[in-house]
């Protein structure tokens, strides 16, 4: 009997030993160190489906593989990319692009007007997925009327027609999704909405290996039409836990952690001053804010909303929670956002003013009760946050303590990402964390998003008497070709939202990265979702 027991045990051990050793060999990234231009980057989840025309892939990865007609520079200017130049018709409804002629997809297919048109048609065929984009709707309107919105007017000339003038079109063409080009050979039954057979783009990098949930390897596209980037290879490791990522960085298993919610202020300060490591920070990009629902019984009252504005100590949030990394935000959009420098007076931090506003609305302090009462009801507001976003949770807890001081009971409820997004779309909230889309989307796409149920904005503003007027002037702003009239419309919308105190701005978010010092010129693109590997190099 003993022999049998020992036999079983021995067999198991040998089996395991064999099983392990036959497993995948070490990813080359760790093996080669020194001068070879390789960077190991970490992300908290897998790159998933990188189909450029869908929204379930990781943005930075899609940005590495696929390119668009135009590129948005850091200062917001539109630069040539796959289109060398473009002409806009008088009425602002027709755009003619001249395409580069020396570009081909990584599967050898030539990039020309016909391929570009095929991509646009694939996007337009999946209208219900891209409904939130104004430009797509305007192009689709042309097709509905029997016209042809996208024409290959020459072998290397593409013409886009819009049903109405829409100046942000160039910006929407430049961002990562959805207007990027994939080789028509990769289409599945003529379109991309059901998936693509291969990820062959024209971008600087090509996806070499993809071990789902483990790591992915990108290598430089050998026949890239432009200047090839210095970094030959980018390895992306999937490390879900933030502490494990920091430890992996400190140990040297990974070289770079990039992104706003990947680097909290405490770890930024630690690595920025740690020997052998450096930190980098971008200009303020987008505004971290809280959205108040104007249709709700309590937050529907303007006095309550303004009281909340006055009761929020943004200085302390910036200094204590973000260690000064994110500056306090007085207004919905920072002054350096286009069309937003309109001289609005911010709500000062003034507890007394807040309490007088609450009393003006009948919310009285009652002896023995911690929170204010009105007609027997307690002043209680619920703030929802995404539980795996550590910073939002800390801010919520801080506000809970602060608002208690003016007699307001702030219940904070954490829920996971998906449920939080569902709640925003359904409008079933009183206060919820929100974030502006950041440059280059601000202000046009961010405001355009308020006209439809994209996130929580549309439903939260329903309580405003002139919501229809606001939506209309947003549309006018987008469609007016005259600069001053456009500024006028923006001024009206931003002022109305500011006076109604629908948005409680907290801090201006800055993109940040911590990395091994062997990595040089780690910079930032205008959009916080892009990781500019092409500019980086290993010392």
């Amino acid at each position: 009997m003993k022999k049998i027991g020992l036999a079983i045990l021995a067999l198991v051990v040998i089996g395991v030993g064999f099983y392990f050793s036959s497993s995948k060999e070490e990813p080359k990234a760790e093996a080669s160190k020194k001068s070879e231009q390789v960077v190991t980057f970490a992300n908290f989840r897998d790159i998933r489906d990188l189909n450029p025309h869908l929204y379930s892939g990781e943005l930075y990865a899609q940005n590495m593989l696929f390119e668009s007609l135009v590129h948005i520079a850091n200062d917001g200017k539109i630069e040539p990319w796959l289109a060398t130049e473009w002409k806009i018709s008088e009425d602002g409804k027709t755009y003619v692009f001249k395409l580069r002629e020396d570009v081909s997809f990584s599967d050898g297919e030539k990039f020309n007007a016909k391929a570009a048109k095929a991509n646009f048609d694939a996007i337009l065929s999946n209208i219900k997925r891209h409904g939130w984009l104004e430009s797509v709707r305007l192009m689709d309107a042309i097709n509905q009327k029997g016209g042809e919105a996208v024409q290959a007017s020459g072998e290397y000339e593409l013409t886009l027609k819009l049903d109405a003038p829409y100046y942000p079109l160039l910006v929407e063409l430049g961002v990562i999704r959805p207007f990027r080009f994939i080789s028509p050979k990769a289409f599945i039954n003529g379109t991309t909405k059901d998936g693509v057979s291969a990820l062959s783009g024209t971008g600087r990098y090509v996806l070499k290996e993809n071990h789902k949930d483990e790591y992915a390897v990108f290598e430089v596209n050998p026949n890239y039409w432009g200047k090839k980037p210095e970094l030959q290879k980018v390895v992306v490791k999937v490390i879900p836990d933030n502490q494990t990522r920091l430890m992996a960085l400190e140990k040297g298993e990974i070289d770079l952690i990039f992104g706003v919610n990947m680097v909290d202020s405490a770890s930024y300060n630690k690595f920025a001053n740690l020997k052998g490591f450096r930190g980098a920070m971008s200009e303020p990009l987008s505004t971290r804010m809280i959205l108040l629902n104007t249709t709700d019984a309590i937050t529907g009252d303007i006095n309550v909303r303004q009281a909340i504005q006055h009761a929020t100590d943004k200085e302390t949030i910036s200094k204590a929670i973000f260690a000064g990394i994110e500056s306090p935000a007085e207004l919905l959009l920072s002054k350096n956002t286009p069309y937003a420098n309109i001289g609005l007076t911010p709500y000062a931090f003034d507890k007394a003013k807040a309490e007088s506003l609450l009393e003006a609305s009948g919310w009285m302090k009652v002896e023995g009760k911690k929170y204010r009462q009105k007609e027997g009801r307690e002043l209680a507001i619920t703030l929802n946050y995404n539980s795996n976003n550590v910073t939002d949770k800390t801010i919520a807890e801080f506000l809970q303590g602060e608002f208690a001081k003016i007699g307001m009971n702030l219940n904070i409820v954490g829920e996971e990402e998906q449920a939080n997004r569902d709640r925003m779309k359904a409008g079933t909230f009183q206060m919820v964390f929100n974030i502006s889309w950041g440059m280059p989307y601000d202000p046009q796409s961010f405001l355009a998003g308020m006209r439809k149920v994209v996130y929580g904005d549309y439903l939260a503003q329903q309580g405003l008497h002139d919501k229809a007027l606001i939506d209309e002037s947003i549309l006018h702003a987008l469609e007016s070709t005259d600069e001053t009239k456009r500024q006028e419309h923006y001024r009206f919308v931003l002022t109305r939202l500011h006076d109604e105190a629908v948005y409680l701005p907290l801090t201006y978010e800055r993109n940040r990265a911590i990395f091994n010092q062997k990595l040089e010129n780690v910079g930032f693109d205008v959009s916080k979702y892009e990781v500019p590997f092409e500019r980086m190099r290993v010392k």
Binding site: M1, K2, I4, G5, L9, V12, V13, V16, Y19, F20, S21, S23, K24, E25, E26, P27, R45, R48, D49, Y55, S56, K128, R129, G131, D194, G195, H211, K212, D213, E214, Y215, K237, V238, I239, P240, D241, Q243, T244, M247, A248, E250, K251, E253, E416, E417, Q418, R421, D422, K425, V453
Partner: protein, 311 residues
């Protein structure tokens, strides 16, 4: 022997049916309508017709039983439907892809449990109330009391960063599994030390041990061959259960040590409300439990001569 196994297999059929029914029913308890969730998860605005068409495509309109039978039929064909998030990703492929990592981790820690807890269990039983026994027990109590995510991080900080001996995370080679396996097996090590120690103490008074001593058999042979094998009998079925619990308990460890296992797949499925994956996971775990118990049961009856004849 064979017909005993067949008999037991037949007995598990109703159990498996019940497990599949529960795996199916749990999902229907969920407050929100799966069709709506499937839409939202793909960022499609759940307008009325979109929900209706999704309900149709997911076959949610036909009656409960019909859906259950269809689902069961599909499961037998190993087609667990496709993930809500990405329609061209079959649940079966997802599970197949992520199962090896978890199996490696579970197997590694299972062996670790055996290799560590058996000797310590024997020692603390033989030298009862000696220093080794007291130290082992206190050590054991402490380690069961540490939540494994905290233990994992401490081990990682200590061995990977401080001593720079082991990789912090990832699952590419054998070395990557050492720390996670230690963390995962820690709670089980202490349970088995206790189990073995107590069953050995119990068996110490058996008459055949006295007669073995009378026959002049050396103490070591008495303890290892006679005493230990008999005490092993009682820990055998606990071992079977623990192996499956190891597999089920890995989701926290996989999250920390970045191992692409089935635990993490299930966690993200729960967070993303990807019901087909959750359903398949629960079904698989249930079946694994039943088969493991059966397997251990058969081994146990085979090893015990009294029962072997009765097969």
């Amino acid at each position: 022997m064979r017909n005993y196994v067949l008999k037991r297999l037949l007995f598990t059929l109703p159990m498996m049916l019940a497990i599949s029914f529960i795996a199916f029913v749990i999902i229907s308890f969920i407050p929100s309508d799966p069709a709506e969730v499937a839409l939202r998860v793909n960022e499609i605005i759940p307008t009325h017709e979109a929900v209706a068409s999704m309900r149709e495509s997911l076959g949610l309109n036909d009656p409960f039983l019909v859906r259950y039978v269809n689902w069961l039929y599909d499961c037998l064909r190993l087609d667990f439907g496709s993930s809500y998030i990405n329609h061209n990703r079959l649940v079966f492929d997802e599970i197949l892809r992520s199962l090896p990592a978890t199996l490696k981790l579970a197997l590694f820690s299972f062996i670790l449990v055996i290799v560590v807890s058996f000797p310590i269990g024997i020692l603390s039983a033989v030298f009862k109330d000696s220093i080794t026994d007291k130290v082992a027990r206190v050590f054991m109590f402490l380690f069961t009391a540490i939540p494994n995510y905290w233990l994992g991080l401490i081990l990682m900080w200590f061995f990977a960063i401080h001593f720079n001996l082991l990789p912090t995370s990832g699952a590419t080679s054998f070395v990557h599994y050492i720390l996670p396996a230690i963390t995962l097996s820690m709670t089980y090590v202490s349970t088995y030390i206790r189990l073995i120690r107590n069953s050995m103490l119990e068996n110490m008074q058996e008459n055949y041990l006295f007669y073995a001593r009378v026959r002049g058999i050396s103490e070591v042979v008495i303890v290892l061959k006679h005493l230990f094998t008999n005490s092993l009998q009682s820990t055998m079925n606990a071992l079977g259960m623990s192996f499956v619990q190891l597999i089920a308990g890995t989701f926290v460890i996989e999250n920390i040590f970045a191992i692409p296992g089935i635990g993490r797949l299930c966690i993200s499925a729960i967070f993303n409300r990807d019901y087909p994956i959750i359903q398949a996971y629960i079904l698989m775990m249930g079946l694994l439990f039943v088969f493991c118990n059966l397997f251990i049961d058969i081994i146990q009856t085979y090893l015990d001569p009294k029962q072997r004849r009765s097969m």
